[in-house]
Subunit: 210 residues, 2 copies
């Protein structure tokens, strides 16, 4: 039995924590920073630059072609982005082939559609996400609530725009997922045992035996 | 601890079976036909007529007012509908107050919002819903696949339209639910144990102690 699980998530919903704990609970790989490191290695670019391209994704139309890249010498920045996304796509597929794993974001459910992953989307109310961001750490402590809300909405908007450009689908649309979990004011830990139970039951239907 | 669970569902997604099995598993009430019977009793209308009004709901704007009804002697059909919906609203609230229960459809998550229910939405691919309708029984056996698909889409469209008119929200929009479950080609029975586990964990957060 193989288990490839993709987790889309709204910013501040606890999706990353859920992904990490789920991978731990299932005893399978959790891929996050490793993807960025591997892209940096293969493209010979700085991790920071790769990060900034991935994070600032703002391509409304993204002519991704798998297996080859269009080179346009007049637009090296476009080429560079194209190359980073293509490399990311290849790495994600290699990871899914190599072993059971949980992959967060990165349109992984779209990239891995031929692998029949279990597709989860994690979301929460703005109020809850604000609270979770505050508790998470010092990164946003200098922001007022209004500024932090603006940041949360901005990141979601960028993710939705990129998702639309990359996949043609609406980000967070239930049609693209097997399960959507509202984590508003919930302890993420409490979701893991029933989720593992659900995945084990799903496996009987979703995942083919090796 | 109180448990009120509402289940919205696409036609043919197995939502009703899920609701019934869930109530059984939790050992709590499952309300479905009992609501129609009670409306018929209170309004002194035939069950069949109540059914047809509830099923053919096509009000795009529905000026529901809780506690009183507008009487317009010029439009007795409108009055009758208004009265049926108002009675249903009251009955659903009474049921939620009386004991733990699972209620399917009927915009119950909206009607019961002050009761902080656990809100579930059940959906599936058209292909899976077609298959489930075929397996379910003889009701649609005379329809071709094309006709049955048209029926499925038509019922969903009506539900969405009524939901919008009644609640102001989009039917099936994740924001209005705690959990959305894709039942495509899944055995509904296999979803119940993890769901009960999830609900028991949720209860620690969602439901107040008595």
């Amino acid at each position: 039995m193989r288990r490839v699980i993709t987790i889309g998530r709204e910013f501040g919903s606890g999706g990353r924590e859920l992904a990490r704990r789920l991978a731990e609970g299932l005893g399978i790989e959790y891929y996050d920073r490793a993807i960025v490191r591997e892209i940096a290695k293969r493209t010979e670019l700085e991790e920071g630059y790769v990060d900034s391209v991935l994070e600032k994704a703002s391509l409304s139309k993204f002519p991704i072609t798998e297996g080859r890249t269009f080179y346009d010498l007049n637009d090296p920045v476009f080429d560079m982005r194209q190359s980073i996304y293509l490399t990311q796509t290849n790495i994600i597929k290699e990871m899914a082939e190599r072993s059971d794993c949980v992959i967060v974001g990165r349109c992984a459910e779209h990239i891995l559609k031929d692998y029949d992953p279990l597709k989860i989307f994690v979301y929460a109310s703005l109020e809850s996400r604000l609270k979770r961001c505050r508790e998470r750490g010092p990164e946003e402590e200098d922001l007022t609530d209004k500024e932090l809300l603006k940041k949360i909405k901005g990141i979601d908007k960028r993710r939705a725009k990129f998702y639309k450009g990359f996949t043609g689908d609406d980000w967070g649309d239930r049609r693209n997922y097997d399960l959507l979990i509202n984590t508003s004011f919930r302890d993420i830990k409490s979701i893991i045992p029933p989720l593992i139970n659900y995945i084990e039951e799903s496996a009987k239907v979703y995942f083919k035996a090796d």
